[in-house]
Symmetry: C2
Subunit: 270 residues, 2 copies
């Protein structure tokens, strides 16, 4: 396949569900003239507890779908896919690929002063050790303390963002990580930014949060600039959203993530 | 398709994941000479938050798979599929079909004395109104008070069966249902029996729990007897387990549900 490097082509963003809409939101804010195609595998979400093999198979299928839409760059907004299937996606894609894990890792390396970094994410992301490998690639002296937080995604989807249950759960998950004297914590899941206030309250001010969604947006701006792929047309761009299912509360939850109205949604049946 | 009514054929049991293994466990205890084939759609679990259309499509696919294995009866251990896709499954199957919703409804009707019944389940089960319809079919005078409990499944899978977070969550979910002066509560999800102690503690003794997994097992015994489908051979039966993914902790969590060693597991790639 030949790379489609026309700057007028859209950016492809994908995730296992709707969490990646936080990345789309940040991209729209920072790159207001770029067309964006989003793919959320809402029928098969969550990926975080599935096997590496299954996650890779699904990631390949989504990548092929987006390449057929002639995307000029691929943004893997899903931490789980970035963690376990990044290589498979990059091998397949003639367009440049950005992964949220690499972005978060670079962010953590830039922020930490005492070289002690915490990482939280889904079980699949954490067990893959992808953040540890990515951070060590940039700075092998950094020590990393990881913790899977399987209840955070369901708590966010329940909308219990400021609830006693969420606070106790966060305390239990974060306590062993805080005890390691970290000065930086990477939010290694696109759902977690919605828990920032609770997490920051438990951590206390001296610990810095790295939001991997924000980090990947900054990298996308940089990458498109470097490859002369920024769209110079000053017209209102098109946003298209593909999902594999329209689950309960989809519009409500999706708009909470995206920060604007969700329209132009197509359902793909896999 | 012609019905396979050979009593030596296996019983087919299916669920969106591994929760239905609690039904297999009860079946093994009550019908120790029956072969059983279990299908758990572990790659696409959970169904509870998906749309009716997607759930029906998946249910049809699993039914066709099990019919090819020549099952003599189909046990829909998944509340969500029983709630929204029972008719589709029955239309497809020449073998008799038992759904966990109908079984739970019959159990509730038999137990309640004041005709005020609570039902808890996943969002899809509750929003489908399937328990309300099923209970009213047997006794139109019973009043039903339903509540979706989306965090119960992740809490069970996290293993927080006796945890402060689970207790507070259960209190919040159950409070409005208890306030309706119910005397019976249906556990409308195969994961919930593992939360029985916490739920019973919050309800207090006067409220009776109906475990739909236990109810469907009793109905299966009855149905096989009525159709002369009980296996009369007194040999050790075969148990086969099909799953669409082997997720993290699969063996550990699966054996907790099944109450015995999980072997003979085949992965089907859909």
């Amino acid at each position: 396949m030949i790379m489609d490097d026309d700057p007028h082509n859209p950016i492809g963003v994908f995730d296992s569900g709707i969490g990646g809409l936080t990345v789309v939101r940040a991209l729209i804010e920072q790159l207001p003239f770029e067309h964006i195609i989003y793919f959320g595998d809402t029928a098969r979400v969550p990926y975080g507890v599935k096997s590496v093999e299954t996650i890779s198979r699904y990631a390949t299928q989504i990548t092929e779908f987006l390449l057929l839409q002639k995307v000029k760059a691929l943004v893997v907004a899903c931490n789980t896919m970035s963690a376990v299937a990044y290589q498979a996606i990059e091998d397949l894609s003639p367009a440049p690929v950005l992964g949220v894990v690499d972005a978060g890792a670079r962010g953590a390396v830039a922020v930490t002063k005492n070289s002690r970094v915490g990482v939280i994410g889904t079980p699949a992301t954490i067990h893959s050790n992808a953040y540890v490998k990515a951070i060590k690639k940039y700075d092998p002296d950094i020590e990393i303390f990881s913790r899977a937080c399987p209840l955070f995604v369901p708590l966010v989807e329940e909308g219990w963002l400021d609830h006693q249950v969420t606070r106790i759960t966060a305390q239990e998950y974060l306590k062993p990580v805080i005890a390691e004297n970290i000065d930086t914590l990477v939010l290694g899941c696109t759902h977690y930014p919605l828990l920032k206030p609770v997490i920051q309250e438990i951590l206390g001010d001296p610990i810095m949060l790295v939001d991997s969604a924000q980090a990947i947006t900054e990298q996308t701006v940089e990458l498109l600039g470097k490859h002369n792929l920024l769209n110079q047309q000053r017209r209102t761009p098109k946003y298209r959203f593909y999902v594999t299912d329209v689950p309960f509360m989809f519009k409500e939850v999706g708009e909470r993530f995206l920060g604007r109205t969700l329209s132009n949604v197509t359902v793909i049946k896999w």
